[in-house]
Symmetry: D3
Subunit: 190 residues, 6 copies
Amino acid sequence: MPEAERISWFPIASRDDLAPETRALFEQLDAKLGFVPNVFVAFAWKGPRFDKWRAHFEDLMQPTPGLGKAEREMISVAVSMRNGCLYCLVAHGFAVRALLKDPVKGDRVTFDYHRAGLGAKHIAMLDYAVKVTEGPASCSEADIEALRAHGFVDSDIWDIAEVAAMFNFTNRLASATGMMPNPEYHAMAR
Amino acid sequence: MPEAERISWFPIASRDDLAPETRALFEQLDAKLGFVPNVFVAFAWKGPRFDKWRAHFEDLMQPTPGLGKAEREMISVAVSMRNGCLYCLVAHGFAVRALLKDPVKGDRVTFDYHRAGLGAKHIAMLDYAVKVTEGPASCSEADIEALRAHGFVDSDIWDIAEVAAMFNFTNRLASATGMMPNPEYHAMAR
Amino acid sequence: MPEAERISWFPIASRDDLAPETRALFEQLDAKLGFVPNVFVAFAWKGPRFDKWRAHFEDLMQPTPGLGKAEREMISVAVSMRNGCLYCLVAHGFAVRALLKDPVKGDRVTFDYHRAGLGAKHIAMLDYAVKVTEGPASCSEADIEALRAHGFVDSDIWDIAEVAAMFNFTNRLASATGMMPNPEYHAMAR
Amino acid sequence: MPEAERISWFPIASRDDLAPETRALFEQLDAKLGFVPNVFVAFAWKGPRFDKWRAHFEDLMQPTPGLGKAEREMISVAVSMRNGCLYCLVAHGFAVRALLKDPVKGDRVTFDYHRAGLGAKHIAMLDYAVKVTEGPASCSEADIEALRAHGFVDSDIWDIAEVAAMFNFTNRLASATGMMPNPEYHAMAR
Amino acid sequence: MPEAERISWFPIASRDDLAPETRALFEQLDAKLGFVPNVFVAFAWKGPRFDKWRAHFEDLMQPTPGLGKAEREMISVAVSMRNGCLYCLVAHGFAVRALLKDPVKGDRVTFDYHRAGLGAKHIAMLDYAVKVTEGPASCSEADIEALRAHGFVDSDIWDIAEVAAMFNFTNRLASATGMMPNPEYHAMAR
Amino acid sequence: MPEAERISWFPIASRDDLAPETRALFEQLDAKLGFVPNVFVAFAWKGPRFDKWRAHFEDLMQPTPGLGKAEREMISVAVSMRNGCLYCLVAHGFAVRALLKDPVKGDRVTFDYHRAGLGAKHIAMLDYAVKVTEGPASCSEADIEALRAHGFVDSDIWDIAEVAAMFNFTNRLASATGMMPNPEYHAMAR
């Protein structure tokens, strides 16, 4: 991939124009990952809006004892597959491979979580995330009770729904604005 | 509607347990509207997460010269109709009636914006919001160019996409958690 | 709404050209409601065809002990929501509010009858009407048996199917011909 | 097919219980066709309702100079194919074969009117009927103008829409009530 | 139908240019049926490719004790109805009529196998073929177990899936290349 | 992945029971790739049927000057993404990466070929393959003319349709029989 690849159909903020904290964040990411995820590069031109979305997003993706980082990322790819979001499938596909420490299983969860050897609890979680994605009005209290029966606590059931809802936001924003995933992701955690 | 109506399938935070700023917000809303919108009542149990989502949401709904409050609310009901979200159709249906200062036109935009007497620019805006909702992967740079040709600037085109994406978040969160719209909305701005 | 609003994409019969009984009907409606429903105004140019459809429609909407006026109107809005018919949602949305004597519940039935606090019998009735609307070929005798188990008699089960079928007719005729609902409906029974 | 085949999931009126005119109609049909179409046999138990529907239906199916019997029946099978209605595909499939005086072309129109050698005007008529069936809310005045450009007059364009709407009624009533087409139809007009 | 009807949107091989075995096959078919099925006429220009496809197809359609010719053809029309394939509905609709030795039942299976008086085992077989057609990724081992419970052996269950898959191939090839069914089929086995 | 992973819901032929040529093929593949593709392992129990399908498949995937190996594989993943076929996405996703000699572009074509930087000719080819997949009955001669205008010759246009049709076969057979892609594919051509 050439370095100058276009990663958004909208203007990209110059790093010099970023708020100091955003610039600091980008420098940290460069140091840690070797690149800044393009969703940040593409969204940063919106200034404080970007920071507010990121604050919400990062709070939501924090693990809890009942719903870890890997679970939250599995939800992200199950939803992104339904919405066909290139950006999120590539970026979060990497995250699932890395968090599961199993590149084959990670790809399988991304392509078809029903054929990835997951247990019944994880399948139920992802089926619910897909229901929230595809037929939100058809959700009912019975869905919540079914997840409780699988051992999820209420706070985590809410988070399954909210993570699913969040990727219905990010999938749409990324797809509508032409965000391209960083090419580095494809080879990571293989 | 009885006062004790259940407005969420999840626990509701007691007002006494809310953070001081959230309690202050609820008191302001009670004073201004006569009630607190149930999305706030239902979401508040998530603590700081609620504040972070609200910060993003309110920033996004701020009007700009090229995309006013009414336009942003029209997008919200067009998206909510596609997702069949009772909560948002009722709450934001009121907002559209109020902002358009025309209860008939507001309801028409909510039910079917193609039959509401809107101009070509508004129709194009809402058709794009529906495309972002129903087929995000099919969006292309040509959609953005078409909106530019209608006179929208890039920053507002991004916002049309982001508002559409946001209601794809809120529609799903509201529908999955059983949020019920405050009964007061139905009679307001009639 | 201006008085001269266009209410059909087809010619409108002059009142002077109507058959005497149609004119009499329109005068009665003017006296009773303050207006003639636009579906009548728009359809009347078809002469005797209009009278024949109306004769069938009005026979079908007559209440029986097991399926009252409110039930028949609830079916009409559940079907109209699936077909996205502005005319019927507004005109029959009013009817549901008025017949239920509860404007909030009426609107909820119109937007999402699963979240309107209806009992299991009414939900089963409306789920069947939606199945008749969305997947008629998938209907089976088991659907009829399930409604019998809810206490519906055969004659009323037929009527649930026929009312659902009828609004699949009217939704399409109204949508295809550009019928606009009378603006008066929006504020009635609030 | 055995004579005692069940032709409805609902009660069938005994011929002795029919109103005299209905009995007379059935006797005429027996004499003319050799059988009474099962839609009549199955619907007759509803008494005057049946007569009212039939009056509307028969008025609507009357040919005009611009929209003949064959055209009206072609619309019926194009709509019935979309709804997968066994009864109407068989009964009206016969009608199309007979009216076109071409059994091969008649079957082709029934299965896929785009591959039946029809002219552009008939294709446009049937595409519109399918649009009225599948996406009524997406119909617009431009559809009507396009049909005018093909030479249809307004009264016939309305009838195209109304015939399409009518078969959306009959397809659903027939499918939901378990109406079986008379076995005789299959071999007729071959 | 005129003899010179166009039966493909692609070139047709002259009989003189066919490989000797293909010419021999066509002569046999002419002798047996009075015509060569147009799928063969239209596909033959691809030379050895045609023979290879036909070898696979004919192997697959061979009856076994547990899955006869009629069953394999019933699968073909159930799949073809879902894909709306004119060619296969006409050609294999004939086959089903002939093999069932019941023209009415054969047509009913073609139009709607749920309303054809089939037994539970055949319905289960066709429901599975439709699931393979419409939602292959949703298939699971439980589907196979359900067919075993109906008495199918594993080798035949595989064949149900493979026949369904095969008609998803032929339906698409026939529809995309403009293959027209031979007019003779319509009147055969009536 | 454990070596003993189950790769089909059907019996697997023992290598000792395979026909000599099939055994020889498997040995060649072991030598060349280090493994035998699971589609072969899973299908081989069907004996000569397997060989006949493979003969057709391999003939079809042979490159021509106008439609190379890479193009044929790009069609395979575009179709497999629509059908959500885990097996084909993984196995042919590898093939696209290898043939394009660009792992990032290969993955992008697999996930969303509209966002992979392909030229207009390749996009038109894949849009047609998707149309053949999703709406085969809507294909028309105009689609063929459009591909000719992009420079494709008739023989290759047929092949685009036939490759698309073939993966509608293999996607369904693989999904319905529970075929699992060899884990080796995931890390190849990265």
